[in-house]
Every structure is written in structure tokens, then in C-alpha cells.
């Protein structure tokens, strides 16, 4: 067994030192009746690296990888090119196999990286302070709602109908605990987001309004208008972003008055991974809200010689000190995913991020124009970043399956996201990134022409 260094001679010598006749004597506190008498049923004995790799490769090959298809899926997870050096850096053992940096003197690498990451996220979001990351965008969204409850001491949550339905589901699941009242409608398939309808639902009991930007249909709501309305009623505006690359092209939520900005960082550096691990981003515009934030924070300080250094800080908000009074039960962050994000963002820089964003937008405009020419297809959005909605005039779930039979991953059907909603069934979300070629767009368009005919 290649991962276990003890020899039988070592084990005997150690048992002798301990004064135990055999290893079972060390399990004396486990009641006899609870000990397993034989091996785990059905589990084979240990296997070589070659044998395990072969088994896993067989399972891997059953899946259609994004790189092997014309690929147009988004809806909260996006395929972008990740430079090779990102994976190289995160596989360095000193990052990969390190623990949470609770001993700052020997964890400055992780800590400085987190400080840089926090600064990058804060600037991207137009906020004062970002934390050291959360599990993913959907759980960060819930944590923001919970934080708004702590700040405002109110119980009513207004969710935009165009918030990612999974995110809305997570908020509703967790609100069962806190007995928050959730106001949520499904999105209407129209070219512009319904800001007026959303604003009409804000009242004096509202703790927060949650708006996605760009929204689930790819539209770009004017956040300032919603921020003003929320603030007038003493509510916080939470803005959710699931495509951080967009913020290289569009105004930040912070500069439009958002109080808390959360999002999914997966697009930058992390990769699709069938849904996880991903990277929750969390930031606040006003520094006075920092002490109500969930999660870890890295801060700057000095050491005994006056040299600059970094530590995890403000931990009195956290579960290991405040226990049942903590701001959240979250006990981890996505350190390695944050590193991947930070390295990729460093490689891009502002110039690269802006170019990347504009390339995404250019290709998406091209795709929207081409798909609009397919008989039976109409493009819903007037404005979008790299993802837009088309109507197909028939159930998009069936169309997606037919496209998959042809090796094309043609988008996310709204029916998959809203299974109970017939009104949305003919909607298809189409995402385009820099990895999409004009040839891919042509492949999708001509396949749609056949499938819809």
C-alpha cells in the first residue's frame, strides 16, 4: 500500500513502546458489537495506480467534454480559456497541500495571495472590502441575505424574478431556518427587465432586494434605480453576478449603489468541473458593514521587526470564537480556487480583462445576429453581455437533446431551470465566450435550422 510508510517491524516496535499487544488493543473503547468483523462488503482490495487510473479514465471518457463539442452553455457556469500557468501554480505543493493560514509566520504565501485576491475582487465589484471567498455564488447569495437581516433587523426579502432559479432555491431553503419571508416571481420573457415591478414590491419591512446582473436571461438591469428605491425604504441592495468577466465591460455594482455584491468566480481561473468546486465572491461597498460579513478576512499588519505581514483577522465574528453567536457557521473558504482566480486575474490585468470582455461581447453579438436568421428563432434581448435568450417556438428541452445527439451542446433550456413553468418552455439561454469560434456558431445555427424545421 503505497501511501502507508509503516513496515510491520515498525508497527511491532511502536506497539511495544505503547505497551499494547496488538493494534486492536488500541480500539478497546470501541464496543465489540460495533466493530466490523470483516471487510467492507463489495469493496475490492487495494489497487495499483495504473489500475485505478484506468477505471477512472473509463468513467471520464463516457462524458462529452466541452472542448469536444460546439459549446454554448452558461446559466451560472461559463467556459473560458484558462492559461496553463494557472494550473501550474495551484499544483505547487506549498499552495495545494497547505492548511488554513492560522499560523501566519509560516503561511505568508497564502495570506499575501488572499490579501491580493480581496483587493482584486473589491475593485472588480466597485466595493471597499471583499472577503477571502465563500463556497460558491449561490451560497454567497444566501449569506448576503442573512447578513442583510443582521444589518437591518428586518425579515422580508425581495428576490428579482430574474435571479438564477438555483440561487433563489438556496435562499428559500435556508430561509426555512430564519423564517424570512421571501417574495419571488418567475421572470417574464421580455426584452427589458421589469425594474418597476421589482421596486413596487419593496416596502418598509424589506431587509434586502436581490438582483442579478447580468440577469438569468442575460439582460442588464439599471441598478442605480433599484438601489435608490431600496435605500429609500431602508433596505439593502444585494447584487449577484455569475459572470465576472462581464465586469470588464459593464459598470460595477458598487458604483451603482449596491450595498453587498456577491457572485460566482468560477469563470476566472477555475473551470467547469461539473458544478464544483467553485468560488463564491463576497464584497461590501461600505466598510462599516465589515463586522457583519461572513467568512474569512485577511488583513495587513507588521511583525516584531516592523516588516509588513498578513494575518487572518476580525475572527471574533467567526464560529470558532463566537460559536452560536457567530455571523455564519461557514468555517472554510475556497482558498485554492481563490488562488486560481487571482493568478488568472493577474495574468489578464486590467487591459487583458477588458479585451477578454470585449471579445466575449463581440462573439456573442455575432452569434445573436446569426441565430436570429434561423427560421423559428427570435432573440429576446435588446442588450446583453455574453449570454442571451432566444425563443424557439417549441420546447427547448427537446431541441437541446436533439442537438446533443449531434454532438452540439447548444445552451441551457429554461425548461431545465424552471421545470414547472410552461410559459418559459420555449426559451433557450445561449452563452458565448472567447472559446467559441465563428465556426461553432455556424454549426449551431445550421443544426437548429434542421432541428426546428
Amino acid at each position: 500500500m503505497r501511501y502507508l510508510p509503516l513496515t510491520d517491524a515498525d508497527r511491532s516496535a511502536m506497539l511495544e513502546k505503547i505497551g499494547a499487544p496488538d493494534v486492536d488493543a488500541l480500539f478497546v473503547d470501541v464496543p465489540e458489537a460495533a466493530r466490523l468483523s470483516g471487510p467492507i462488503e463489495g469493496l475490492p482490495m487495494h489497487a495499483s495506480e495504473m489500475a485505478v487510473e484506468k477505471h477512472m479514465r473509463r468513467l471520464s471518457k463516457k462524458n462529452l467534454a466541452a472542448a469536444d463539442a460546439a459549446f454554448f452553455l452558461g446559466a451560472g457556469a461559463y467556459r473560458h480559456h484558462v492559461p496553463a500557468s494557472v494550473d501550474h501554480i495551484i499544483q505547487r505543493g506549498e499552495f495545494l497541500t497547505a492548511y488554513t493560514p492560522y499560523q501566519p509566520e509560516i503561511a505568508q504565501g497564502t495570506l499575501q495571495m488572499l490579501f491580493e485576491f480581496q483587493t482584486q475582487v473589491a475593485r472588480l465589484y466597485g466595493c471597499a472590502v471583499a472577503n477571502a471567498s465563500m463556497y460558491d455564488g449561490s451560497t454567497a447569495c444566501w449569506e448576503a441575505v442573512a447578513m442583510a437581516g443582521r444589518v437591518t433587523r428586518k425579515k422580508r426579502v425581495v428576490l428579482s424574478g430574474a435571479l438564477h432559479p438555483h440561487y433563489a432555491e438556496v435562499v428559500k431553503t435556508m430561509a426555512k431556518f430564519t423564517e424570512d419571508e421571501i417574495a419571488h416571481a418567475r421572470p417574464a420573457l421580455q426584452a427589458q427587465p421589469d425594474n418597476d415591478g421589482l421596486i413596487a414590491r419593496i416596502d418598509d419591512q424589506t431587509s434586502c432586494v436581490v438582483v442579478q446582473y447580468p440577469d438569468i436571461l442575460g439582460r442588464l438591469p439599471d441598478l442605480q434605480q433599484i438601489a435608490d428605491a431600496a435605500h429609500e425604504k431602508g433596505a439593502l441592495l444585494i447584487v449577484v453576478n455569475t459572470e465576472p468577466v462581464a465586469l470588464g465591460a459593464i459598470k460595477s455594482p458598487g458604483e451603482q449603489g449596491a450595498d453587498i455584491v456577491v457572485g460566482e468566480g468560477q469563470s476566472i481561473g477555475v473551470g467547469l468541473q461539473f458544478g464544483g468546486p467553485y468560488l463564491g465572491l463576497f464584497a461590501v461597498r461600505d466598510p462599516k458593514h465589515v463586522r457583519q460579513m461572513p467568512g474569512r478576512l485577511c488583513g495587513e499588519t507588521v511583525d516584531a521587526e516592523g516588516k509588513r505581514g498578513f494575518v487572518l483577522t476580525l475572527s471574533t465574528r467567526e464560529q470558532h470564537i463566537r460559536r452560536e453567536k457567530a455571523t455564519s457557521n461557514i468555517c472554510t473558504n475556497s482558498g485554492l480556487c481563490a488562488l486560481a482566480f487571482s493568478v488568472h486575474m493577474t495574468l489578464l490585468g486590467e487591459k487583458g480583462l477588458r479585451r477578454l470582455a470585449m471579445e466575449n461581447h463581440r462573439l456573442a453579438c455575432h452569434a445573436a445576429d446569426r441565430l436570429a436568421k434561423v427560421p423559428g428563432v427570435s432573440v429576446l434581448n435588446d442588450s446583453f453581455f455574453n449570454e442571451f435568450t432566444v425563443r424557439l417556438g417549441q420546447d427547448a428541452r427537446k431541441v437541446v437533446r436533439k442537438l446533443a445527439d449531434r454532438g452540439i451542446l447548444g445552451g441551457v433550456s429554461l425548461g431545465r431551470l424552471y421545470p414547472d413553468n410552461e410559459e418559459l418552455a420555449d426559451g433557450l439561454l445561449v452563452a458565448v465566450t472567447e472559446t467559441t469560434t465563428e465556426e461553432d456558431v455556424e454549426t449551431l445555427a445550421s443544426a437548429l435550422e434542421e432541428v426546428l424545421a
Partner: protein, 523 residues
């Protein structure tokens, strides 16, 4: 010209020499291979990029007037500068690849690189969570196969795979318990948590809207069964217990505890953070546990990555299995693995799925690593993992109890972690000083001041992937610093002396938080 790249250290400021590293000051602040690295924001430039992308052609046409005009302030580096920046930073970190990492309750064991290779196979790494299910049968099989082995290894009935970390798994387990209670019209309000529990347990119960009450520990470091029984009643929804517990001991009365809780109509939540001590030896289901999260990063060696990502599947008893979250996978009689996301959950035995805890399906990248680990070890290897982990911990306990106080040493063997206290240290020297002195010996310190039931606690977990030679050297080092602490060696108060940074001022960091570069100090 002043060098821009000296972290906090200014050219011409002598580097004070508090230690034996004598020699002239350097103008760079570097010391041979120990290199100072400036912040990205001090060396990068907004016009620099390490990625070749086309110059935008023409104006953005469909951004609806939302164009970002103002500067963002994101400096970039070229690829060689980027690789150098992060490689230099990496050298300021301790890691399991560098040496023994004796963190009790955190389980830092070797991370096999096969796991990394597998997780990067395109069929796992490069698939979208919402791809048509017909294009991802292998990914669903991975989830289902891992789920199957987690159920078998724990002797449970079902498993919820989507929780993103251990504490998220705790929330999931408590939600299942709450759903099961609601299904029988039972509105219980209290969760009992022993003193020795992880801080996440009371935080989770409180976050879930329950009142939290402590249950004391016996002088032997175990749950006080009589006190627990006395508190049970119709208002108690659940007991959250850690087994093996955070004193490094097996809860001998676990079955009696479970029976008492069940008799009172409540459920037993077990914090599975220490499952690595008993995997392949004991099945929690046989002890009456109703829900237990499994930290894949601990028991099944997915890398900690400097704080995460984690992964926290929750195994469930027959009573709780119908109440798990969406989505989940299920293999039907036809041998096909289905992904159940929404409406038809009841067809698969989920009478009352309580909705989603996260977008998508959980930590797939961790599932592939954990399954690879399980198949590599097999039934014989996993049993050996628990035995060697416990053997190594007891070897440390018995090798050091003559020099370090072991409060529960006399009560018998420990499990996978050995607990010591600061009893016998000279006046003015603390567990913290010992830990920082251990850094100078080339080790990451053990878990300190936890569990809270022991004064100045030191919880040492060597894990099964340490050799006897590695343990012997660690024991020698710990013995040496323990002797210095007892003798009152004042130099320990200023340790570490040889780390990339001397002792850091955590009070200043908290009092005047600086949480972003160039940010004005906050009040």
C-alpha cells in the same frame, strides 16, 4: 532610485538581527533563497498583460448604456513575472509536502497526485453542470459510486452529496432532521451540543434557528451520559456529537446515547470530522447515528489548498433518507444512473426533498479525488489507514507523556490524535510560545487551545502517512521545546526566529483593519 519591491522593508533600514543568523544586512531585504516578495499592486501595471487577446474592434454595441468607463485598478503581470511572483509566495508557506503537519481534528495527510491527475481528466474537469444528462453518464456514475461507498463505509441508508464543506454538511443534516420532525408535526426547539464539539456545531444549530444548550464532559473527556439523559425531553430535536471526539477519545457510550436520544424522540447528529480514525473498522450507522457529514478533504485526502475547497457529503439513516436535498443521483433497476433535479424526487424515495443547498451538484472535483483514494486503498487499505493513524497517535502520546501533561493519557489509548496540556510550563510561557518555537524546529504547530475543555490544549494528529522515522524526529523536537517551556526558556516568547516573518501583530490587524491594498485604515 528606491527599490519598489521590498515588502514593508525600506532600503537603508537595517534588518534587526534577533537571532543567530549573523551577517551583513542586504540591500534587497532578501536572504539568499529566502526572498521578499512585493504585492502584485506594487509591481504590476494596468497596461501589462500575460494573455494574448485581440484589440477590441469597434465600439460595444449592445451593452445597453452600461459600459464601464472608469478605471478598475487591476494591475497585470507578464507570464514570467506571474510565475515568479506566485512561486516566490509559495516558498513562504508550510505544507504537507514539506513535512509533518500535526493538526489535530484537521487531518493533514499526504495528498496522492493520482487524485489530481484524475480530477483533471477532461470528462470530469471540462463538463458543464447543466449539460444534457445523456452526455454525462460517467460523471453521474462517479457521484453514485462514491455515494455507494460512503453509505457502505458508514453503515447508513442514504447520502446527500451536494454540501460544499463540513459545516455546510452540518446544516444539511440539521435541515434533514428538521424536515423529518416537521413531517410528523413535531416542533422541537433545542439542540444539545457537548462542550467538546467543534465551533461549527453550535453555530450551525443556532443558524438553523435552534436554541443551543451545552452538555458537560466527564473528567475522562467524554460526554456525560447521565447529564445528557437528564436533559432529554420533548423539546430536544437533536444531539450533535463528535465521535471520535475532540479529546481524541472514542465515545464508548455512543450506542447508549443514541438509544436514549431516540427514545426521547430526537435525532443523533454525528460530526464526522474524525471519521478517518475508524474508517473500515467501525460503522457509525451501527452506533445509532442518524446523520453524519464526511469531510472528504480529511478522511479521503482531497487537498486543503490553503483553506479549501472542502466537501461535506452527509450520510443519513433510514429515518432521515427521505428528506435529503436536491439534486441527487439514483441508480434504477435498469442499471442507469439518473440525475434527479426537481419534480420527480418522490419517485426515488424522497418523499419530502427540502430543496437546494447550492446551485448544481456539489464538489465534483472532490468526488473524483475521493473515489480515486477509496479505490486505491480498497477494503484492506482503508482499515489499515485507521489502524496506522491510531497507532501513530498513540506512539506520540506514550513517547511524550513523561515530558508533556496528557490529561486523558491515564484513561487509555487515544484514537487518531493525542491531547496534551500546558500544565507544568514555567510561569509566563504558554502553549502559543511552544507552538511558535516548534516553527523554528521546522514544523507547523499542532492545534492549539482546542478542545476548550482542556487548559492550554495541544492536539496532535500525525495521520497514517507519517513514517516511524518522521515521528521519531517530531517527538524529539516536541520533547525539546516542551523541556524548554518547563525550564522557562525566555527566548520562546519571541519565537519564531527563523520563519519568513517574526511574530505578527494580530491585535493591530484587528484594531485597525487594512483589508485591501491602499485602503485607508478603517475606524
Amino acid at each position: 532610485m528606491s527599490a519598489p519591491n521590498q515588502s514593508g522593508w525600506k532600503p537603508g533600514t537595517p534588518v534587526q538581527d534577533h537571532n543567530a543568523m549573523s551577517g551583513p544586512d542586504t540591500v534587497t531585504g532578501n536572504r539568499a533563497l529566502m526572498l521578499e516578495e512585493p504585492l502584485l499592486f506594487e509591481i504590476g501595471h494596468v497596461e501589462t498583460t500575460g494573455v494574448d487577446l485581440p484589440e477590441p474592434s469597434g465600439a460595444a454595441t449592445r451593452l445597453g448604456g452600461m459600459e464601464r468607463a472608469a478605471a478598475i485598478g487591476l494591475p497585470g503581470l507578464s507570464e514570467p513575472e506571474t510565475v515568479r511572483h506566485y512561486t516566490r509566495l509559495s516558498r513562504q508557506n508550510y505544507a504537507i509536502d514539506l513535512g509533518l503537519f500535526p493538526l489535530g481534528s484537521c487531518t493533514m495527510k499526504h495528498n496522492p497526485r493520482l487524485n489530481e491527475k484524475v480530477a483533471r481528466m477532461p470528462g470530469f474537469a471540462d463538463v458543464h453542470p447543466l449539460q444534457p444528462v445523456q452526455t454525462v453518464p460517467g460523471a453521474l456514475e462517479v457521484i453514485n459510486e462514491l455515494a455507494h461507498w460512503l453509505i457502505e463505509l458508514t453503515g447508513m441508508h442514504g447520502v446527500a452529496m451536494s454540501p460544499k464543506a463540513g459545516a455546510h454538511g452540518e446544516l444539511c443534516g440539521i435541515l434533514c432532521i428538521r424536515a423529518a420532525l416537521e413531517a410528523r408535526g413535531d416542533a422541537r426547539k433545542v439542540v444539545l451540543v457537548p462542550e467538546s464539539a467543534h465551533g461549527t456545531n453550535p453555530a450551525t444549530a443556532a443558524f438553523a434557528g435552534y436554541e443551543v444548550e451545552d452538555i458537560p464532559a466527564t473528567p475522562e473527556g467524554r460526554v456525560d451520559l447521565e447529564a445528557l439523559k437528564a436533559r432529554l425531553g420533548p423539546d430536544v430535536a437533536a444531539v450533535m456529537i463528535t465521535n471520535p471526539n475532540t479529546c481524541g477519545l472514542f465515545e464508548r457510550d455512543m450506542k447508549a446515547i443514541s438509544d436514549a436520544v431516540h427514545a426521547a424522540g430526537g435525532f443523533v447528529y454525528c460530526d464526522g470530522a474524525n471519521f478517518n480514525a475508524i474508517v473500515g473498522k467501525v460503522r457509525p450507522g451501527d452506533l445509532g447515528v442518524d446523520a453524519m457529514h464526511i469531510n472528504l478533504h480529511k478522511t479521503f485526502s482531497t487537498p486543503h489548498g490553503g483553506g479549501g475547497p472542502g466537501s461535506g457529503p452527509v450520510v443519513l439513516s433510514e429515518a432521515l433518507s427521505p428528506f435529503g436535498p436536491l439534486p441527487f443521483t439514483a441508480r434504477t433497476a435498469d442499471g442507469v444512473v439518473h440525475l434527479v433535479e426537481e419534480e420527480n424526487a418522490a419517485d426515488y424515495g424522497h418523499v419530502q426533498a427540502f430543496g437546494r443547498m447550492t446551485a448544481f451538484h456539489g464538489q465534483m472535483g472532490m468526488f473524483t479525488r475521493a473515489l480515486t483514494y477509496i479505490l486505491s486503498h480498497g477494503a484492506d487499505g482503508l482499515k489499515q489507514v485507521a489502524e496506522d493513524a491510531v497507532l501513530n497517535a498513540n506512539y506520540i502520546l506514550r513517547s511524550l507523556e513523561d515530558v508533556l501533561d496528557a490529561p486523558f493519557g491515564p484513561s487509555g489509548p487515544c484514537m487518531h490524535e493525542a491531547l496534551f496540556s500546558d500544565d507544568g510550563f514555567a510561569e509566563g510561557l504558554s502553549t502559543l510560545d511552544l507552538a511558535k518555537a516548534l516553527i523554528d524546529e521546522g514544523y507547523h504547530p499542532m492545534t492549539m487551545y482546542f478542545p476548550l475543555v482542556v487548559h492550554g490544549a495541544m492536539l496532535v494528529e500525525p495521520t497514517e502517512t507519517e513514517s516511524k522515522a518522521a515521528l521519531d524526529q517530531f517527538i524529539m523536537a516536541l520533547r525539546s521545546v516542551a523541556e524548554r517551556a518547563k525550564a522557562g526558556d525566555e527566548t520562546m516568547k519571541t519565537a519564531p526566529h527563523y520563519a519568513p516573518r517574526r511574530r505578527l501583530d494580530e491585535t493591530q490587524a484587528a484594531r485597525k483593519p487594512v483589508l485591501a491594498w491602499n485602503d485607508a485604515n478603517m475606524a
